[in-house]
């Protein structure tokens, strides 16, 4: 009697545990299914490398290169902000901060990490963009540069917490050994701790990049929205996520435009999927290297 009940519970939990897998596979199937019609009409290469995105013109043009480039540029720009700030902050918290500073800084960063993206977008739109427009004498405040900056600030707490985690896994003995041979704190930091935590830090950077490229509301509000290939960093752009979010409302269900937006989502999904797999592999190696269990 007990035994059947026990087995039943085990099976219930086992089935529920597969939910994530089911959802992940479900997402992949849905994206493929809804995106497929566009590839029957347009060659995949023309779709990805086409230079013109005029989905509502007659005849429509479905080339997503401007959107892809916008996403890539905005994310790279964001990396210039969030890698130094995030990793630098993590190093400070882990290596330099006193016990008391650490007790304040760590939770503070965590609380700040919870600010919703819509608030960043709003801030970028009403404060940062007008400020930069005046300060740098730009013709348009909502542009690639502003979007990168906003996104970079937004990804900083994420990068910082993950990098900080990686640093905290470096065993004390590494540090002690380095001090014992006469290295000072800075030498220990740059030649022992950073190399030891290197792959953990790169995981943080990859996950930050993945977050930046998939972020929607911020770029939707701040990037300017022009679906053309940018000529300078002060041009307005429309990243992939922004295109999906802003155009899905107008695209009639079942139209090619609707399908093409799903195709963009599919490409976006594959990019972040690859990033996550790489991060997973690197972090597993990192754990093995430091002798931690996988």
């Amino acid at each position: 009697m007990f035994r059947t009940k026990e087995k039943l519970y085990k099976w219930i939990f086992a089935i529920l545990a597969f939910a994530s897998l089911v959802f992940l596979v479900g997402i992949i199937i849905v994206l493929f299914k809804e995106a497929l019609p566009i590839f029957k009409n347009i060659k995949a290469l023309d779709f990805i490398f086409g230079k013109f995105w005029y989905p509502t013109y007659e005849p429509p043009e479905f080339g997503i290169l401007p959107l892809v480039l916008a996403s890539i540029w905005v994310s790279i720009g964001a990396m210039f902000v969030c890698i130094p700030l995030g990793v630098g902050s993590a190093l400070y918290i882990n290596e330099i901060a006193s016990y008391r500073q650490k007790a304040i800084l760590k939770p503070l960063i965590e609380v700040l990490a919870s600010i919703p993206s819509i608030v960043y977008g709003f801030f970028g739109m009403v404060v940062l963009a007008p400020f930069l427009q005046n300060f740098l004498h730009l013709s348009i405040g909502l542009c690639l540069f502003t979007a990168s900056l906003t996104l970079g600030i937004m990804a900083t707490p994420t990068v910082c917490s993950i990098a900080e985690d990686a640093l905290s896994y470096v065993p004390r003995s590494f540090r002690e050994a380095s001090f014992a041979v006469g290295a000072n704190r800075w030498q220990t930091l740059t030649r022992v701790i950073i190399p030891a935590a290197g792959s953990g830090i790169s995981t943080a950077i990859i996950l930050g990049m993945s977050r930046a490229i998939g972020e929607t509301m911020t770029v939707l509000m701040v990037a300017g929205g022009a679906a053309v290939i940018p000529k300078s960093i002060f041009d307005p752009v429309r990243p992939m996520t922004a295109a999906i979010a802003s155009e899905m409302g107008e695209a009639p269900m079942g139209s090619l435009h609707y399908n093409s937006l799903f195709a963009i989502a599919l490409i976006l999904f594959l990019i972040t999927f690859i990033f996550n797999i790489i991060a997973e592999i690197i972090s597993r190696r990192f754990r093995i290297k430091l002798g931690l269990s996988g």
């Binding site: 919870s114 919703p116 819509i118 608030v119 709003f122 000072n184 998939g214 509301m217 999906i244 899905m248």
Partner: protein
């Protein structure tokens, strides 16, 4: 000497990094709060919008956000906790567990707008829920599932193995041990994770764009099949739609302020609980 100088420069650089980060983030809170707090009034919190979104309050949006968050948590919590229990307590170490783990990690990295599209195709279209609270909160619950699973896992792993062994030694079965020993011990940790995910859901916009949100609706939602206004979507809509951008901006400031306070408060509470718990566990 040279060695010392390099160290000084290096440390100052790192200090600069964290200073800039904190200043930037506090600046966001400051700018939103200073103008947002002026808009807040009793009327703003309790009234519906009037005169084409230029006057009145945002009560329906606040209520809508509460509904969406509540339902999303109701869906995600049982599923997430069960998944974590299986992975931590039952899981045979096998490749199946690895597959589940990898899919959780990947689900956590899926862009939020993709959850919106999934919700649109599956809940709105396929199951014919329409643009509704139900479709929106289901989309949100998938988004937040990995967060709940990993925080619950962390809480379960923190339960000392000796407690489980003691319970099993007394003749309790696996399920009795989980129900009477493991879950109660892990409860504060699970609670923290849940609270953090509430904060996450309340602020998410992209998944509800095409599955639940409406810019304006008369009165409050009547059932789970009606559209809702939601705070984050309302901010976006106020800034991009409508005919009176000047007056709408002020209302958007008010909404951002409410959302910010809500989310920061929630995550602050969660982090306090967790710190106490950690201190308690470490003696």
């Amino acid at each position: 000497m040279n060695k010392k100088l390099t160290q000084k420069i290096g440390f100052s650089f790192l200090f600069l990094c964290i200073a800039i980060t904190i200043v930037f983030l506090l600046a966001i809170i400051y700018f939103v709060s200073v103008r947002g707090i002026k808009v807040i009034s009793w009327e703003f919190l309790t009234q519906a919008p009037r005169n084409a979104m230029t006057e009145g309050g945002v009560a329906p949006a606040i209520v809508g956000t509460l509904y969406l968050t509540l339902f999303a948590i109701l869906f995600a919590l049982p599923l997430g906790i069960s998944c974590a229990i299986y992975l931590c307590e039952y899981s045979p170490k096998s490749y199946i567990v690895n597959i589940i783990r990898i899919s959780i990690n990947n689900l956590a990295g899926v862009p939020s707008v993709v959850f919106g599209l999934f919700g649109l195709a599956v809940f709105v279209k396929f199951f014919k829920f329409g643009v509704s609270i139900l479709a929106g909160s289901l989309s949100l619950s998938i988004l937040v599932l990995p967060v709940i699973i990993s925080s619950t896992q962390e809480a379960l792993l923190a339960v000392p193995q000796s407690l489980r062994e003691a319970s099993l030694a007394l003749g309790a079965t696996k399920w009795q041990t989980i129900k009477k020993i493991v879950l109660p011990t892990a409860l504060p940790g699970i609670l923290t994770g849940t609270i953090l995910s509430i904060g996450r859901i309340a602020g998410e916009t992209a998944p509800i764009l095409f599955t639940a949100a409406a810019f304006y609706m008369k009165g409050y939602p009547k059932s789970v099949f009606s559209e809702v206004m939601a705070l984050p979507y309302h901010i976006y809509a106020l800034m991009t739609e409508g005919t009176h951008p000047e007056r709408q901006t002020d209302i958007a400031y008010g909404c951002s302020f409410i959302l910010l306070i809500l989310v920061l408060l929630v995550s602050f509470v969660a982090i306090i609980i967790r710190q106490r718990q950690r201190r308690y566990q470490h003696g």
